[in-house]
Symmetry: C2
Subunit: 471 residues, 2 copies
């Protein structure tokens, strides 16, 4: 996809002006049109240029959202939901202009049901805020995409992260949502029961729909008990293949690893330089085990045997929190360390996900591709899921670099699809991955479009995301 494919879209200027007037009357200075704020709300961490909304409105309740959506639908104006702006594929851009609904004031934890291990929050609650709120309950919300994202945004992009291998993704951890659809009604997708066979799975339909079916107004989440013990460790391997062999055996043995992260040699080198470490500059796995004291010790011992069998050397692990943090330092600082491989460059993160049996092959071919293309791009993977990120370090102001990176992303996606993988394990489609969705889904995209058209016939809910311009 070239930049030319990010269409600026048809604008309904009269409608936009009218709706801003309506919203101003109702929300006063909770409607903002200053350029800096609007630019911040089109924040994108890709090479896709920002496309600013015409106004940003800050609702405080589901009723406010209903009012805003109805006004926008009445005036045929696009609605773009906004959490914290940490999405990576242009999900908050406004290609047709329109109203950004910033949910940051909808930040209440509405209820915590400790006995049921669930809670309901407004969409603007961030994951760190939620875990702080839960501190005294013995429970935690496990999904950790890295950024301190909002629960609404995480739900909308079907986020996951390092511990999805154990706890699943937002798909498995959202019990229900409420959302205001293009009809202006608020629906609730499910009750609080842990399972149900009652009709279509509307919860899963909204999880990952990137705002294209409506605006989330609350999310009911599964929680987990804080494990009695946590052990963490790191193990260098002679090759990516050897590390991935150990991952496959670990999963096959049913060892319930909480995290199993792969860093490639370039990333390890960057980490050594940045954090002044002396890890071997070979691929490495970083692991975390959750359970009882005896359980985490047993898991670590079992992994140690597997690592040794696969050629890993010196698997170091500990249950001591400080020592654990030390062992994981390279992983924790990986992003900042990677940026220092090319000071002043931007780091553009892209992700794919393949069956774990193909992970080594996919990573190695990708490394060769990076070398051939002359890119600087370390790799960090959520290896237990077959999901990995490539951080392309580039100067987004140099068109040739952008073109080279785009071409690389195209080849990366083709490679993942050829291995029966997906063009995005956790970042979503947004604008950036749209060209790959049809390649991945074939006729399935028609079914998605039919659903979109049925629920949003005027294409006002975050238009231009997931699907191309005209749906």
């Amino acid at each position: 996809m070239g930049l030319s494919d990010i269409e600026s879209g048809q604008r309904n200027d009269a409608g936009i002006a009218a709706v801003i007037g309506v919203l101003r009357q109702r929300f006063g200075d909770q409607v903002q049109t200053g350029e800096a704020l609007r630019a911040q709300h089109a924040h994108t961490t890709t090479y896709i240029p920002g496309q600013l909304p015409d106004a940003v409105v800050f609702p405080a309740s589901a009723d406010d959202v209903k009012l805003i959506v109805r006004a926008c639908v009445d005036h045929r104006v696009p609605v773009i939901p906004f959490g914290t702006g940490t999405s990576l594929e242009g999900q908050v851009n406004a290609p047709h202009g329109g109203i950004s609904i910033d949910t940051s004031r909808m930040d209440r934890v509405l209820e915590v049901n400790a006995e049921d291990l669930d809670c309901t929050v407004e969409p603007g609650v961030t994951r760190e805020q939620l875990n702080t709120h839960l501190r005294d309950t013995g429970l935690f919300f496990p999904i950790d995409p890295g950024a301190n994202a909002s629960i609404g945004g995480m739900t909308a992009t079907r986020a996951s992260g390092t511990n999805a291998v154990r706890y699943g993704t937002m798909r498995e951890n959202v019990i229900a949502v409420t959302a205001v659809t293009a009809s202006g009604d608020e629906i609730r997708t499910a009750r609080r029961a842990r399972k149900s066979s009652a009709g279509y799975d509307l919860t899963r339909l909204f999880v990952g729909s990137e705002g294209t079916l409506g605006v989330l107004t609350s999310v009911t989440l599964r929680l987990q008990g804080i494990p009695q013990a946590i052990s963490g460790g790191v193990c260098p391997f002679p090759s990516v293949e050897a590390a991935c062999d150990a991952v496959v055996m670990t999963i096959q043995m049913g060892i319930p690893v909480a995290r199993i992260e792969l860093l490639d040699a370039l990333q390890m080198k960057a980490c050594n330089a940045y954090s002044k470490l002396s890890n071997p500059e070979t691929p490495a796995l970083f692991l975390e085990f959750h359970g009882t004291e005896a359980g985490v010790a047993e898991q670590a011992a079992m992994f140690g045997d597997i690592a040794a069998e696969c050629g890993g050397s010196d698997f170091l692990w500990t249950t001591d929190p400080e020592r654990r943090t030390e062992l994981w330092k390279a992983r924790h600082n990986a992003y900042w360390a990677a940026l220092q491989l090319r000071p002043g460059a931007q780091g553009i993160s892209t992700d794919v996900c393949v069956p774990i049996s193909r992970l080594a092959e996919c990573v190695v071919q990708t490394q060769q591709d990076i070398a051939t293309a002359g890119l600087i791009a370390p790799i960090v993977g959520h290896a237990g899921d077959g999901n990995f990120h490539v951080l392309v370090l580039m100067d987004t102001k140099v068109p040739a670099e952008v073109a080279a990176a785009e071409a690389f992303v195209g080849r990366l996606n083709a490679r993942a699809l050829a291995m029966d993988g997906t063009c995005t394990g956790e970042h979503g489609i947004g604008q950036g991955k749209r060209p790959y969705l049809s390649l991945e889904m074939g006729e399935g995209v028609s079914v998605m479009r039919q659903i979109k058209q049925a629920l949003d016939p005027l294409n006002l809910m975050n238009p231009g995301k997931i699907f191309s311009f005209d749906h």
Copy 2:
């Protein structure tokens, strides 16, 4: 809902005759119209009368399914997918007549990817057949709804069963499906990656759609490693409340129980009589733990402490397979034992699911209701999920008994919904639970209907299921 609400529907007799002709030409004696066979294909284990399809066709491939669906759509004739006929809410009835697509000849395991812990099967493969096929791989498919159902049917009704508390339901264990939709095209809902953020979750849309969106032609499933050790046990409790307290504490502590089943006092009494056991005739929990030798021992010990704290007496457990079978005998024979509470009666199973904090309250109120209504109806619950079954023993030929049972089911559902639960944890909506779907979902049902209309505008895919007659 009364029987009068099960409409016999408008029939398209000319279309049906024409399509049978077309199918006969193509499929010869794989098209059957004998009444006995048709009656078997309208098998229903509820008090809903059977509504026979006009013909049963036995496709051998996805291409056959495509041809059948296209012929039916061309002639405006309903299509009713059929697995093994073990659904409980009238899912295979043909209220408008039409063609039953029996998938029993589509019984091939298409691939097993041991390294990725997944497999792809045709929809007619049964779960026992699959586990037999997997025997030498060290893997198994965990979902166990009791009956030896087909994987297609289990997918279509979002089935689960005893070990969903550990391994999840079909929702969590289906990676992808292929399905022939009303357009006559075959779509694939996802690739084989363990997670994906690529567009709408079509897999979850088809899981639980009960054939109303198309006919499944293959299912890709997650598999699990066979645990190194299994321990099982049983523990009597002085009351349902005490047993449920133990369940809640077990889940909160994060003990990864593989099964935690509740039998009420009446069911325990029935089991003693049927299997000549001498269990205390009080509520009891039946447990199973999966893990390492040390792990299952630790889990059992932890549960023992919880049980003692909650007033449970004599938690017996073992890792010895024979002794384990013996301890679980009451649970294994529960259905047959229950039937002997009223010899000659039919056992009609209904299910609801509530947040586990409400399980005790819901079960106790339901027992009181059963007593007041003068029914004989033991209760067995998948307690870790808050899901329980009531087996109403009745003579379905006596209208007053049917009416009393229907009224009871109505009150049971209202009770579960009032507790933020669902009208069905695992049996699906079919015809029998349709009146409760709107009560549960409110405006959400409109969204479901919009999806149904978009994907099946002529309402030919298993019409009259999930939604009422006219969608």
